[in-house]
């Protein structure tokens, strides 16, 4: 599987933001917002190839390496007794 990166995609207009739907990329719909500088932004999870395609089509893509988000190792699951104890149950 190709490496993926958390990205922030900037579009210059509402129309170009709406057009992002046609790419079938992993963009997080609920993060779409208009910023004070009048650009439209949306977060997503893209491969480098997908990001390049968007840049080529006029979007600005800010990429972050997956590891930069400081997330815990999700393979590490908590057992129920510990989960209950952590919550005082």
């Amino acid at each position: 599987m190709a490496a993926r990166y958390f990205v922030q995609v900037s579009a210059s207009s509402k129309e170009s933001l709406a057009k992002l739907q046609t790419y079938d990329f992993d963009l997080f719909r609920h993060t779409a917002r208009q910023t004070p500088d009048k650009t439209f932004k949306i977060d997503g999870l893209l491969t480098a190839e997908q990001a390049e395609r968007l840049v080529k089509d006029g979007y600005t893509v800010l990429m972050q390496p997956e590891s930069s988000l400081g997330m815990q190792d999700v393979g590490e699951v908590i057992e129920l007794p510990e989960w209950l104890a952590e919550r005082g149950f």
Binding site: M1, R4, K14, L17, A18, Q21, D24, F25, D26, F28, R29, H30, T31, A32, R33, Q34, F40, L45, L69, G70, M71, Q72, D73, V74, G75, E76, V77, I78, E79, L80, E82, W83, L84, E86, R87, F89
Partner: protein, 479 residues
């Protein structure tokens, strides 16, 4: 070592909850196993007998949003523990007293279905899996990619393709047909089999949002014919910002959503200061096939079904927050969901519960929806009840005489409420008005200033009902 519950852990947590609180928690075996054959369960939390309103919490539709199944389970445990120990609940800066807990557990059936998509979560948490997997694990035979987006597979405008994809490799692949996926047929099964469910919260991540219908287009409250069932608009639906189509929502229901979403937002903010945004689902992108639109749409499609108010929460600022932040999110959203529970209570239904009047509840509900909400005064009365139900219920729990008088008044009011299409309704006599006025006064004497003002206004309106039917009185009070 901190982390999230595994799929087996979620199941164990449900079983353990039932074993710990058998007097008021029931296990529900859901009818469909997942695509990979996993069984799913929900629980019903509710003490006492009689018909009660139902509220359903669902989570884990999207596999990578790991915190939410743990969140709704934590809330379920907190609620049960507080109820059984006669204590309140505190989430950071927001507290609920033991009476609020009691009102919820005794006044509602709270259904919790914490993990709708077990296969997806197992894949996210498996060594060699994909921690950012979103969909279920349907192999999509004959296709290049696995998985269906479960929150695009509900049968609400499913054929339209608005905000969904027919490409199995897409993260928003809508599947082979509406309700093609067994995991969401389990969600559908709950309100089908527990028709008391009138409220649903679907918990997702992320973005710190509280969302309410509709998701397919912007809302409008004036043209009931412009709606998702009308094929005349099929070609123009789903465009943000245009004027050719907007989705119809009754004004009173939109008002309930906006008011309740605001209460949920305020409760969340009180915990540690994170201010979620309450808004219509559509935002900048339309979508279809979602849980919230499907469940809210049910009573429009089939008027025999009860109305279900449905909201989505988008918790936190990332899919998989580290432990300390996850616990904070669980705390703040728990407060929001407790507020949602309280907003779901109805003083009238609760007063009638367990009495001979209970069988009249459906008829009264129908009258509210079909007659009261059509008039300005009726909407005012419905709003009063929605705003002050928790306080009225508190009074009812603490003042036995007041509770009994309220029940006696309801017994006298019920016969003057006409059946649907009844031509000759009963006229309201002076004695009935006197008993209502007496109840309003006694309630006011013990109420907060805000409720007192509302009751004063209601008392003034009583003159419009003298020697009139209820429908005539509503019209007169609306002028």
């Amino acid at each position: 070592m901190p982390g999230y519950l595994s799929v087996a852990g979620v199941e164990q947590a449900l079983q353990n909850l039932v074993a710990t609180y058998p007097a008021f928690v029931t296990l529900i075996n859901l009818p469909n196993t997942s695509v990979e054959g996993r069984a799913s369960h929900a629980v019903k939390i509710g003490s006492g007998t009689g018909t009660k309103r139902g509220l359903l919490l669902i989570a884990g539709l999207h596999a990578r949003e790991l915190v939410n199944p743990d969140l709704v389970l934590t809330l379920a445990y907190n609620l049960c523990k507080a109820y059984s120990t006669h204590t309140g609940l505190t989430f950071g800066g927001k507290s609920y007293d033991a009476t609020a807990v009691r009102l919820i557990v005794e006044g509602l059936d709270v259904f919790v279905f914490p993990l709708v998509n077990p296969d997806g979560r197992a894949f996210v948490q498996a060594p060699g899996g994909d921690r950012w997997w979103r969909k279920n694990r349907n192999p999509n035979p004959g296709q290049a990619c696995k998985g269906v987006d479960l929150n695009r597979n509900f049968d609400f405008l499913w054929p339209s393709g608005i905000g969904t994809s027919a490409n199995p490799c897409s993260e928003v692949y809508k599947g082979a047909g509406g309700f093609s996926e067994p995991e969401i047929r389990n969600v559908q099964w709950l309100p089908d089999n527990y028709p008391q469910i009138g409220f649903i919260a679907d918990v997702h991540s992320y973005s710190e949002l509280i969302l309410y219908p509709w998701g397919d287009d912007e809302n409008q409250t004036t043209n009931a014919g412009m709606n998702f069932m009308n094929p005349a608009y099929n070609a123009v639906r789903g465009v943000v910002g245009d004027t050719s189509y907007k989705e119809y929502i009754p004004a009173a229901e939109l008002n309930w959503y906006a008011t309740t979403a605001g209460k949920v937002r305020d409760a969340i903010a009180a915990v540690r200061g994170r201010v979620y945004t309450a808004q219509q689902e559509i935002q900048l992108y339309p979508t279809t096939g979602t849980s919230v639109d499907y469940t809210y749409a049910r009573h429009f499609v089939d008027p025999a079904k009860h109305r279900v108010y449905a909201i989505t929460l988008e918790t936190g600022r990332e899919f998989q927050p580290a432990d300390a932040e996850a616990l904070q999110i669980i705390s703040e959203v728990s407060a929001g969901l407790i507020e949602f529970c309280l907003a779901s209570l109805c003083a009238v239904e609760e007063t009638m519960a367990g009495t001979a009047l209970e069988k009249e509840a459906d008829r009264l509900r129908l009258f509210r929806d079909r007659e009261m909400l059509k008039t300005k005064a009726g909407r005012r009365y419905v709003q009063l009840l929605a705003t002050h139900s928790v306080e009225l219920l508190r009074l009812s729990k603490s003042e036995k005489a007041l509770h009994e008088e309220a029940l006696a008044v309801l017994q006298r009011v019920a016969p003057v409420i006409p059946e649907p299409r009844q031509r000759q309704a009963k006229v309201i006599d002076r004695e009935l008005l006197k008993s209502v006025a007496s109840l309003l006064k006694k309630t006011k004497d013990k109420s907060s200033p805000a409720l007192g003002l509302a009751l004063d206004a209601l008392a003034k309106d009583l003159r419009f009902f003298k020697n009139r039917t209820v429908v005539e009185g509503l019209k007169a009070a609306s002028q």
